[in-house]
Amino acid sequence: MIRTKYIKIKDLNFIEKIYIIEVLKGFVITFKHFFSNLFKMFTNKKIITIRYPEEKIPVLGVAKLKSNHRIKLRHDGTPKCVACMLCSTICPAKCIYIEAEEVESIIEKAPKIFNIDLSKCVMCGLCVEACPEDAISMDKGIFEGGSYNRFLNKSLGGLFYTKKELFLNLENEKISELGASNSLIFRREKYE
């Protein structure tokens, strides 16, 4: 059922029709803002604006989970990634390139090459959702994505992540014990 609501627009009274007094009221508002901000500017108090590249504020909660990628490490320093290719499959921008390799441990498989091309990445976070090992995550805390050369490595000022820049744990991070192959390791350690 469609309901119709009639809105009655108030007629302007005489003072509002003259317009000049209303204009002066508007001027009072802008003058107030202007002079209070001018006073703040010369007494070095803070205007709300954050002057971004020079001053940064800590990123709040969930927003931090959409920063640049990293791959978590285990206790022994090996990457949690098992090169299952799920992230590169689900990636809508096709920016993840993985080559697998055999390693001598219980997990048997690890990435030989793991590249993320940030110039293609759309920051959707689907790779994080898809990962069965809780390996890839987007909580590095780096947001800046500007560069003069997209083919250079990220460490050289480019936009290209390789293993070297990707595989790391954050400082003071509690090492995650999630993931299928990880639990395999823990179970085995328990038995031994």
């Binding site: 204009v23 508007g26 802008t30 803002h33 202007f34 901000n37 500017m41 205007i47 002057r51």
Partner: protein
């Protein structure tokens, strides 16, 4: 026939030479005054561009431009006009394929010319005394200055019209159509709203007009135009804003609607239009200062010093002239400040509202104002 013309020219050249030899001091004085005046106007206009951005920022609780620097020396963003100028010159100068190239490039020239030429007739201070020379701070003093100024400033319509129509762009044509309707309807008001002032003071020149505003009523209230003619001030201020094509009367440009008559312009040609707009702000604030705010008059300041009732503080006339010049500059600055403030306070009028405001309200009211003033003068 040819020889006759040659003779005539030679004779006239001789007279010109004689005139120069006799009046070389006047001519040199004129040239120096001209350079100083136009240098001042250019730098003031450049200052207004940064001021506009900074004021708008502070009104909207932002910081505003402050990043331009020379050796990390920022000065609250005062170097931004220089950066803007360099940027706008570096841009590609583009002329559309179907545009009339001659008219297209003539339009910004006319706009800048018409906005600059008017300053020749406006006094920009009382006198200034350097050693024994007492220099009158006006380039050309005529008794028709008031009408000449209005006529010359209305030349700007041609620039707007040519820029829009000959750039082969629909938005441009639409913009110049609106501009012409708007400018013509407010052109009338600019002059008519000034007539009561002329009726009251009956000045011979603009310089004379300002001097006639130097009296005081009851020794307290200054005899300025704004006090005798507050309505004329409101009408003229509105018309000035509208002539300037600024918000709240900026349907011509309408940043979010049509870009207006300079849609196709780029580089310094566009810069010329923008610069002319800021020069026009200075022009109108100078006119408002002279007609309504008593020009360079400072309350209680006479030729010999301050006189407040019976208390007299004598000052050297050189310093009095300097004070008057400073007061004039401050007044012009304040008026242009308010014009900029208006832009960031009021929303845009609709196009029909602008025209109705002009023809149905302000024009009859200003004519009534003239008649009322005339009757009042007759009675008193």
């Amino acid at each position: 026939m040819n020889e006759y013309i040659k003779e005539l020219i030679l004779k006239n050249l001789g007279e010109l030479k004689n005139y120069f030899l006799l009046n070389y001091q006047v001519i040199i004085e004129f040239i120096i005054k001209m350079f100083i005046l136009y240098f001042g106007i250019f730098s003031f206009a450049a200052l207004l561009t940064i001021l506009e951005r900074k004021i708008s920022a502070l009104i909207q609780d932002r910081v505003g431009p402050e990043k331009a620097n020379i050796w990390k020396f920022r000065l609250w963003g005062l170097f931004h006009p220089i950066a803007d100028g360099i940027k706008i010159i570096m841009k590609e100068d583009f002329i559309p394929k179907n545009a009339n190239k001659f008219m297209f490039s003539l339009a910004p020239i006319i706009t800048v010319f018409s906005s600059l030429i008017v300053f020749a007739f406006i006094p920009f201070g009382n006198y200034i005394q350097i050693l024994d020379h007492k220099i009158k701070l006006i380039l050309i003093e005529t008794d028709i200055a008031i009408f000449l100024i209005i006529a010359l400033s209305s030349l700007a319509i041609y620039g707007v019209f040519m820029g829009g129509v000959f750039s082969a762009n629909s938005w441009g044509i639409l913009g110049s159509m609106r501009a012409i309707a708007q400018l013509i309807s407010y052109e009338v008001i600019t002059l008519i709203s000034l007539l009561p002032i002329i009726l009251i003071y009956t000045p011979s020149t603009l310089h004379d007009l300002v001097e006639k505003q130097s009296d005081m009523f009851f020794g307290i209230i200054p005899n300025w135009g704004i006090i005798l003619q507050p309505f004329a001030f409101i009408f003229f201020f509105t018309a000035a804003l509208c002539e300037n094509k600024r918000i709240p009367f900026d349907v011509v440009e309408g940043e979010s609607e049509i870009i207006g008559y300079f849609t196709e312009y780029s580089s310094m040609r566009f810069g010329a239009f923008m610069f002319a707009e800021y020069i026009e702000i200075i022009f109108f604030s100078m006119l408002i200062t002279i007609f309504f705010l008593g020009g360079w008059n400072v309350p209680f300041l006479k030729d010999y010093g301050f006189k407040i009732f019976n208390f007299v503080l004598e000052i050297d006339s050189k310093i009095v002239y300097l004070l008057e010049l400073i007061s004039f500059i401050i007044k012009v600055f304040l008026v242009s400040f308010i014009i900029i403030f208006t832009r960031w306070t009021l929303p845009r009028f609709r196009f029909d509202q602008i025209l109705r405001l002009s023809w149905e309200y302000i024009l009859p009211l200003s004519i009534a104002n003239i008649i009322f003033t005339a009757i009042l003068i007759r009675i008193i």
